[in-house]
């Protein structure tokens, strides 16, 4: 089971709680995870990554295991701790303001 924590706005948009659980095969990449999220929650299409280019939105970040994984290639496997559900993947709005 993979655990994904969504930012508040996306929870509201898709009428979800803070954390969603996805039952997936052992080896899952960031790209595959995003595909599954968008298939299961169509309202999130275009919000985490661009509809067409599939690029992550610049102001969103992927954190897990105490690291910023945002810049890994989409084909990269998720960390083992995330794949086994020990750690959540946190989708976070980048800091802004002043």
């Amino acid at each position: 089971m993979i655990r994904v924590i969504l930012p508040t706005y996306l929870q509201r948009l898709a009428n979800l709680g803070r954390e969603v659980h996805l039952e997936l095969d052992d080896d899952v990449t960031f790209l595959e995870l995003m595909d599954v999220i968008e298939e299961k929650y169509p309202m999130l299409k275009g919000t985490i990554r661009d509809h067409v280019s599939k690029e992550r939105r610049a102001y969103l970040r992927f954190f897990a295991c105490g690291q910023d994984l945002s810049h890994l290639a989409p084909e990269t496997l998720l960390p083992r701790e995330v794949l086994i559900g020990k750690e959540p993947l946190r989708i976070v709005g980048a800091m802004s303001g002043g």
């Binding site: 930012p7 309202m43 661009d50 939105r57 980048a94 802004s96």
Partner: protein, 371 residues
């Protein structure tokens, strides 16, 4: 008795103001979509209870909403805007060619005849059409065949911000793009022409009379006379008497002909409104006085309207989509400011009242008259 519903898009959500025909007391609902930019919120003329809202976020991208009950409840609709065919390139600020990229929707324009048809103006500039109430969108790519490699962003981005549909012939559509100019289709969006003859942009373009590249801020028409178009350009207020084939300047005695919005009186096709701004560097009214200017002769002579508006220390801006009129017998005029004020004149501009003082910066104002 008729009532009025004012749809206001702001930097931090949408607000809906309602009043009876007197337009003296107002109820406020909002913020809707709190905390998020609402570039445009507009109702359908075919079904006024149907309202579209364009929500834009640097974090979460474009999200669109539709209401079927006048804004009481909302449904998320399609947000996939995929450019047709080879994406092509346009100029960036440095003059380099960069690929077209979808960034946001500046404007929705519901069809005046078909309930489920709605147009959307995009940045990077393109026109999209939906025939299923906004669930899916298709580009009308012929527009980008008009020298689009020479289009470039204005300071606010390369947005298609104004869509005018000829109510007498809905196959004729006019769009305005910053900074590309005005374009017209006579066949529902299949083929397009640039209609910028007569525009002069000596401070903005190396060739002041270039075929494309003009920074058109807003265009408008009166529904009874769609051959006459009015334009607030970056600098210059312009007029066309032949559906955009030729333009000429009607700035006349305006204290500044820089500004963003322009509107036409609901019942007087030659009465037009602009809000002069000091300059493209100083985006605020001259002398700190907020004044609307009205011409009752289609641009040949302008009069100042200021009763009820702040006449000192006012340094707000009024953005291109933030001026609107209603169609009540005594035409109402409405505008919102970047300082968060919403002003209403129930008497064609003679007097003004402050309906809201502390909204987030206002991006757009639209008005519906309900039976």
């Amino acid at each position: 008795m008729s009532s009025v519903r004012v749809l206001v898009g702001t930097r931090k959500g949408a607000f809906i103001f309602t009043s009876d025909y007197k337009r003296e007391k107002w109820d406020i609902k909002g913020p809707l979509f709190a905390g998020l930019e609402i570039y445009h919120i507009k109702g359908s003329g075919v079904d006024p209870q149907r309202i579209y809202a364009s929500q834009v976020s640097d974090w979460f991208g474009q999200v669109n909403h539709r209401s079927s009950d006048g804004g009481l409840s909302w449904k998320t609709i399609g947000n996939k805007f995929d450019y047709e065919g080879e994406v092509g390139t346009h100029q960036d600020f440095s003059g380099n060619q960069i690929p077209w990229k979808f960034r946001r929707i500046w404007a929705f324009e519901p069809s005046p005849t078909e309930k489920d048809t709605v147009f959307a103006g995009a940045e990077d500039a393109a026109l999209f059409k939906s025939t299923d109430g906004g669930m899916t969108w298709q580009e009308l790519p012929g527009l980008r065949e008009i020298h689009s490699n020479m289009w470039m962003p204005g300071a606010g981005g390369m947005g298609l911000h104004t869509i005018l549909i000829n109510p007498k012939n809905p196959e004729q559509i006019f769009v305005a793009i910053s900074a590309a100019g005005v374009f017209r289709t006579n066949d529902g969006g299949q083929t397009w022409s640039g209609i910028n003859h007569g525009l002069k942009s000596e401070y903005e373009l190396p060739n002041p009379e270039a075929e494309v590249g003009h920074c058109v801020h807003s265009i408008t028409m009166h529904p009874s006379n769609p051959n006459v178009l009015f334009m607030q350009k970056h600098w210059d207020v312009m007029r066309s008497d032949n559906a955009g084939d030729d333009w000429y300047e009607v700035s006349d005695n305006l204290p500044s002909d820089f500004g963003f919005p322009i509107a036409v009186h609901a019942h007087e096709p030659e009465t037009i409104y602009v809000i002069p701004i000091k300059s493209d560097l100083e985006h605020y009214p001259l002398e700190g006085k907020l004044r609307v200017y009205r011409s009752r002769t289609g641009g040949y002579g302008w009069e100042e309207l200021n009763k009820g508006l702040p006449q000192k220390d006012c340094y707000v801006n009024i953005l291109r989509s933030a001026l609107a009129v209603d169609t009540l017998e005594s035409c109402g005029v409405y505008f919102g400011t970047t300082g968060g004020q919403l002003y209403v004149s129930p008497d064609s501009g003679e007097t003004w009242q402050t309906v809201a003082q502390n909204l987030p910066a206002v991006l757009s104002v639209e008005v519906q008259v309900l039976p």
